[in-house]
């Protein structure tokens, strides 16, 4: 028997792994991917609770999360290309232009 509990635990595990990735990795693109991962674990929570509460609203929110994630990926990757053109690197240690 699976309860909503199981889904929420799975979501929490994935979210924690995503947080771990964001905090430890140095490659900006990988950090970005970890953020997408965390958004996805939240999607899982939304869907599980949507079913638990027999309500469509959770799925609607997943739809909006996906739209926001797509917009975020487009802008974020454009920023990364702009940064790479200046610095020839996307290592987060090189993101230090405010330190001048």
């Amino acid at each position: 028997m699976i309860s909503v509990y199981h889904y929420l635990i799975l979501s929490a595990i994935i979210f924690s792994i995503g947080t771990f990735g964001v905090l430890t990795r140095k490659n900006a693109i990988v950090i970005f991917m970890c953020i997408e991962l965390m958004l996805n674990s939240v999607n899982l929570t939304f869907i599980a609770l949507s079913r638990h509460l027999q309500n469509m609203d959770g799925q609607i929110f997943v739809f909006f999360v996906m739209a926001v994630a797509a917009a975020e990926a487009a802008v974020g990757l454009a920023l990364m290309i702009a940064f790479y053109r200046n610095r020839e690197s996307i290592d987060t240690d090189d993101f230090n232009m405010l330190k001048w």
């Binding site: 699976i2 309860s3 909503v4 509990y5 199981h6 889904y7 929420l8 635990i9 799975l10 929490a12 994935i14 979210f15 924690s16 792994i17 995503g18 947080t19 771990f20 990735g21 905090l23 430890t24 990795r25 140095k26 490659n27 693109i29 990988v30 970005f32 991917m33 997408e36 991962l37 996805n40 999607n43 899982l44 869907i47 599980a48 079913r51 638990h52 469509m56 799925q59 609607i60 997943v62 739809f63 909006f64 996906m66 739209a67 994630a69 797509a70 917009a71 990926a73 487009a74 802008v75 990757l77 454009a78 920023l79 290309i81 702009a82 790479y84 053109r85 996307i90 290592d91 240690d93």
Partner: protein, 174 residues
């Protein structure tokens, strides 16, 4: 039956996620992440949300991850480049690991407190028709706002990419 499928998919999702986060080579990360998204999409299907499962594959695996792959390939981020710069050492990882573990335990404990959490999830199937009805009736304004946001994002991405290419040209002549 559904229980076993859930456990298998959950294990796949967790392992693929862990691999994605720890790989040195960003292309390998992308592949593991796509695997994890697949497992999640199938879990969504199990949860009676076929439409969201399809979007998970089309939008995340088929569009966003492809975009990441494109950028990684275009910038030619070879695996050696990142290997030169070692990530933080084990000592610096420890606080992060502890933080993650604390986050996880707190979530689990909070979940335990909810009396309804142990109940089996009821059967529920969201057909595309119902979904569309709710989306365009109750959330019509939100849909408009999100579509504007997508437009702004497209314009913004275009502008950022373009401005940088103009800046680079005088720099290249020096």
């Amino acid at each position: 039956m559904a229980t076993w499928i859930f456990y298998i998919l959950g294990a796949v999702a967790v392992v693929a996620t862990a691999m994605a986060v720890t790989r040195r080579n960003p292309v390998h990360s992308v592949i593991y992440l796509v695997n994890s998204f697949f497992a999640l999409a199938m879990i969504f299907y199990l949860l009676g949300a076929p439409l969201v499962a399809a979007w998970e594959v089309i939008i995340y695996a088929g569009a966003i991850m492809v975009l990441f792959l494109f950028i990684i390939m275009m910038l030619e981020l070879s695996p050696g480049e990142e290997a030169d710069r070692q990530g933080p050492g084990a000592l610096q990882w420890l606080p992060v690991l502890l933080l993650g573990a604390a986050l996880l335990t707190c979530t689990l404990l909070l979940l335990q407190l909810d009396p309804a959490a142990g109940q089996a999830v009821p059967n529920w199937y969201a057909s595309p028709r119902d979904f569309g009805y709710v989306l365009f009736h109750e959330y019509a304004l939100a849909v408009e706002i999100v579509s504007f946001q997508l437009l702004f994002a497209a314009v913004g991405a275009f502008y950022v990419g373009r401005a940088a290419s103009r800046e680079k040209q005088p720099g290249g002549q020096q």
